[in-house]
């Protein structure tokens, strides 16, 4: 014969199902923070790209960007020209010294020769 069902049994069943297991309650804060971090990242990524896109949409920024690239290219060229000029000046100085002192090629350094 089946025993009569106690009225408290459904309530007790609900209570057990709602209480998380002990291991689950220990991971809860970590899980919460992970979900928050995921939500922040997913919220940030489209926002950043959208912001960059909106900035590049502005013609003033596009022109400024292109002008900055051009100026940077010119700046690098100036550095290269300056280095080449310094190297050429050195070669000219050596060529001039060799012209006015024919013995220099032989002695390789003028310091060793007595005046």
């Amino acid at each position: 014969m089946k025993p009569a069902r106690d009225p408290l049994d459904p309530l007790l069943d609900r209570w057990r199902s709602e209480i998380p297991p002990a291991s689950a309650s220990a991971d809860l804060p970590r899980e919460v923070w992970r979900r928050i971090a995921d939500a922040e990242v997913s919220a940030l990524e489209p926002g950043l790209i959208a912001r960059i896109e909106s900035v590049f949409q502005r013609p003033s920024f596009a022109f400024a960007f292109i002008a900055a690239c051009t100026l940077f290219g010119l700046f690098l060229a100036e550095i290269r020209v300056s280095r080449q000029q310094a190297q050429r000046n050195l070669q000219l100085a050596q060529a001039y010294v060799q012209l006015i002192d024919p013995l220099l090629q032989e002695t390789s350094t003028a310091d060793t020769r007595t005046p």
């Binding site: 960059i52 290219g73 010119l74 290269r80 020209v81 010294v97 012209l99 006015i100 007595t114």
Partner: protein
């Protein structure tokens, strides 16, 4: 996204074009062996006036043929010396009379070189101001600089 790529590519294109255009415009096209290039460099380096430049140019144009001739003679002497050295190593002996003649010739050329070099340096220095002269003497070999005045004891 397409617009960003377009702007970035156009910016890179402009930067690269500007870079190479600037390099092409400012690159020197003269040879270093050219006397004019050397004198132009001296003019810039010593900040010569047009009159000074004309005088310096005249001095160098007058002396350079002789100096070039001396340089070729020095090169020939060097080859002769190498020939003596080869002979000494292979035959174990050299013609001492010939070698003595070579030494004498070499002394004479060395002396001529030193004299010609000093003449061109002194003549150029006379055209320059004191500051320019000081700078010029740092460019020439120490052997060609005037000896500092001796202080008597």
């Amino acid at each position: 996204m397409k617009r960003i790529l377009l702007v970035v590519l156009f910016g890179l294109l402009c930067g690269t074009a500007g870079h190479f255009a600037c390099l092409y415009v400012q690159q020197p096209h003269l040879s270093n062996d050219n006397l004019d290039a050397q004198l132009s460099w001296i003019k810039t380096d010593l900040q010569l006036t047009p009159a000074q430049y004309a005088r310096i140019k005249a001095i160098h144009e007058q002396s350079s043929p002789h100096l070039l001739k001396l340089a070729s003679r020095v090169a020939r002497m060097r080859e002769e010396f190498s020939a003596f050295e080869r002979q000494r190593k292979t035959a174990g002996e050299i013609d001492f009379l010939e070698f003595a003649r070579f030494i004498e010739e070499r002394r004479r050329i060395d002396s001529d070189c030193l004299l010609s070099s000093r003449q061109i340096v002194d003549a150029s220095a006379e055209v320059l101001t004191a500051d320019q002269r000081q700078r010029y003497f740092t460019l020439v070999p120490p052997a060609l600089r005037p000896a500092p005045p001796r202080i008597p004891n």
